[in-house]
Symmetry: C2
Subunit: 335 residues, 2 copies
Amino acid sequence: MPTLEEVAQRSGVSRSTVSRVINNDPHVSEETRQKVLQAIAELDYHPNAVARSLAAGHTQIIGLVIPTAVAMLFSDPYFPRLIQGVAAECNASDYSVMLWIGEPEYERRTIHRHLNSGLLDGIIVASAVRGDPVVSALQQSGLPFVMVGRPDDPTISYVDVDNVHGAREAVLHLLRQGYRRVATITGPLNTAAAFDRLEGYRAALQSRGIAVDENLIAEGDFTEESGVLAMRKLLPHKPDAVFCASDTMAQGAMRVIRGEGLRIPEDIAIVGYDDMPFAVNLDPPLTTVRQPIERMGQEAVKLLLDLLAHPNDGPHRLVLPTELIIRASTVRGNS
Amino acid sequence: MPTLEEVAQRSGVSRSTVSRVINNDPHVSEETRQKVLQAIAELDYHPNAVARSLAAGHTQIIGLVIPTAVAMLFSDPYFPRLIQGVAAECNASDYSVMLWIGEPEYERRTIHRHLNSGLLDGIIVASAVRGDPVVSALQQSGLPFVMVGRPDDPTISYVDVDNVHGAREAVLHLLRQGYRRVATITGPLNTAAAFDRLEGYRAALQSRGIAVDENLIAEGDFTEESGVLAMRKLLPHKPDAVFCASDTMAQGAMRVIRGEGLRIPEDIAIVGYDDMPFAVNLDPPLTTVRQPIERMGQEAVKLLLDLLAHPNDGPHRLVLPTELIIRASTVRGNS
DNA sequence: GTTGGTTTTGGGAGCGCTCCCATACTCATT
DNA sequence: AATGAGTATGGGAGCGCTCCCAAAACCAAC
């Protein structure tokens, strides 16, 4: 591996000058620049990122942490898409992504070791649960970070989708279709997303003067199995529609409903959340709330880079819109 | 951020000695070690990973490359699970994972820059397509790397599952169930996985003295739609069972079969491959070949670390076993 | 008390870069 | 010619660590 010094010698200039052309410093004569460029090409020189980081005081690397608790959810494409968004935006901005998947026994020590190692310029935390130790460690460390999903602490920067609004629109749609006993299967209520979607559900009912019946609310954990369980609990209370906080749970709920010999949407309508790829292939195709997942990843990176550039700014917050995708699972009549 | 030097001063020893206790060098007296440890605790010192990397000549970071072409496949849980396996093993070995998702535009331009930046000690390439430029760049660079999935070039280290064996077991199972006209829907035959699975199919038939009927072989591309098309081609040749090289294609095939009013498994049995989460929820639940995806990620890391420790060893190869998961789609009678 | 071996410790020389400051050189302007 | 402003270059001093070698300390045995 050739070094800066060798390039300098070969092109007959100083180390500093080579550094300048590499970093596009304008204070280099065109002639010199060409000489240097040629030497770089001849030697197939590539700057050493580590040395550069040490000298410059930053690494151009950001960390993406996915806390343990949610890593299980890897069975749905949420995280892959988020990762893709983050990676794409980082590539575009000449940053690299360090992946950090929280392991069950990650102790505080390990967290701090990583956060204080100086390897990361900043961090994106995906979907932390309430009171996640990573978050407090992060705050302590002073490292710039942004969260995907609304945190409890209002001083933290984040990007989120408007879960309240998305859920409300979904439930209002159900109401407009004439359903009256609208139930909901929530996600784990220690996550902000699940909580907000439940809020949206309540808000929709209340705005139409419908009392919220707690019997029509069942908590799941975003998995299909939990959707099955929740639906079984709901059934005795005769709902005529169910708003599920994830497509995966909706899928479980649909299985139960069909198992009972009931029809969708004639007897019970179903709305999901996420617009997962499989939602359109369900029988019937699932009405659902689409979230711009990749975009969240992208925006999180943008926010973070902004934070790096302007450390004294207050926290950034960005709430992205959702989109209600109406399919056959909520539209009776012409089927 | 305190430095080594500050810890040294506070504990009244030299920089070198502090370095020794940090790196668990046995040549330190217990007394000194305690003094140093205390100073470290008091100052909340954490070694700077960048400086350490520069001085030591390695970074304890490995790259995980997911080539563009397959990034689309992010809609199935293969990559998430692989990533999880890689991350878990890296955590356990005190390495970090740098994620690198090939972007159409940036790939070519930045590939060499990344490989030669000295940031990565080694690389794992997930499912490269044939002739992927990343692979040749990698070979050129001299960076240690291992691939997940058998490469063309036999000098490259890799971990793979035993696709031939997995397919053979699946087909033998069909044969044992009494099916005689066993067809197959293959993946794209320019991928090693698809090729090997077809090999297994042939091997199974031949080992039972059954001639391979080329009319019973249809090529797909792992997508559901291609499963539909392939099944339509197969139907006129009256298969009584179909071995599909992916669950997704199996799903398509099942749709066609049911569309024809045929029963599964009474009229036609179906076997898939992958054991995707949805396989168990199909109607009927799908018999399939399960692959140890997380484990592949883990083993890939182990192989790579071994390669880093013993650079002069020849290429490592590891083929992991598959597991046949028998469900209702191949078992007639008691339904 | 000397010798020789072993263990423990200290200090210097980098790793390959950036950044700042000093120098040299260029070109008007007086 | 002398001055000053502006631009191009060079060189030194780090960034915070590891690694090697030499020095110091210790301990046993003669």
